[in-house]
Symmetry: C2
Subunit: 156 residues, 2 copies
DNA sequence: CGTACATAGTTTACATGTCAATTATCGGCA
DNA sequence: TGCCGATAATTGACATGTAAACTATGTACG
């Protein structure tokens, strides 16, 4: 691995910089590894990660949600949601229901089919969580959560 | 927020489970926040995150790399690389060079144009790193790196 | 030599994330 | 009533991630 002159200068001038970059890079890489594994699991059960995410939100809420509310909870940019809901609806996992009071709003309701699909996934998902986190103790996991929340704090 | 009966049972049976899920969820959410910000910065300079990633790898290496080597370093699934390199080549950021010894191999070489574009981004990227990590002390960042590496360890 | 297998890249098909622009509806206010 | 700006959702164009199938080239082995 060649270390560029620029990187050497950075290390000299601001030793702190390296620590920041290393932590953020570690975070991104770790997330990649984890997301890939969950993605494979979801696909084995006929769902994409984004679809699973939306269905989990709807199940957790226990009642239909407006499309924009879903978009805001998934960090998905608004236009992406439309096609996502389209495909979920085609697959029979959700229904669109237009709001009577405000006809601009469209509620999305989860179906029994989708609830069944999610139930199938609950155990495998829990297993994967265990497997992925097996290298850390409960204390370390708590500390990791604390640091991540503190890191995320100023971003809100 | 409704807590499902299933979740309650899980909490009863395996209090450890909640800690794992919380840590992994925190990781994914934090990564989303960070990636969104870097993505915006790259796009302001005419690059997508994936393109920036590849150009950084080529600059760091200092010499042309085979396409599959790049794919392995970016965790990109192979087919995705082709179009990515296509667009980088169209934009004048890389050149394809066929290997003489093994004509199956195609080397990708970074151009001066791309190096200039990367140089423009070095300061803003460093600034963003600082800004994102400002909530944590150097010690906390080191601890975060340690935990993430330990978490990632068994996945390799 | 020549067949079988392995490797490097590409193509195709589809789901997603992103931005800019558009449509439908609401609410307020003259 | 009727226009105006705001809000909810969609559409269109493009880049990316993913899986399966295909092409071209290389290598091993009989």
């Amino acid at each position: 691995m060649t270390t560029s002159r620029l990187q050497q200068e950075i290390k000299k001038k601001r030793p702190f910089e390296a620590v920041e970059q290393e932590a953020l890079l570690n975070l991104v890489r770790t997330n990649d590894q984890i997301s890939i594994r969950f993605g494979r699991l979801f696909r084995e059960h006929g769902l994409t990660p984004a679809q699973y995410n939306i269905l989990r939100i709807l199940r957790g809420e226990g009642k239909p949600l407006p499309i924009l509310e879903i978009a805001s909870r998934t960090l998905t940019v608004v236009p992406g949601i439309t096609g996502l809901i389209d495909r979920l609806e085609q697959a029979g996992y959700v229904n669109r229901v237009r709001c009577e009071k405000d006809r601009r709003v469209i509620y999305v309701a989860i179906t029994e089919t989708a609830l069944g699909r999610l139930a199938e996934l609950d155990e495998p998902v829990a297993d994967l969580h265990r497997q992925l986190a097996c290298g850390l103790t409960a204390g370390e996991l708590k500390e990791l959560s604390r640091l991540l929340e503190k890191l995320r704090g100023p971003l809100a």
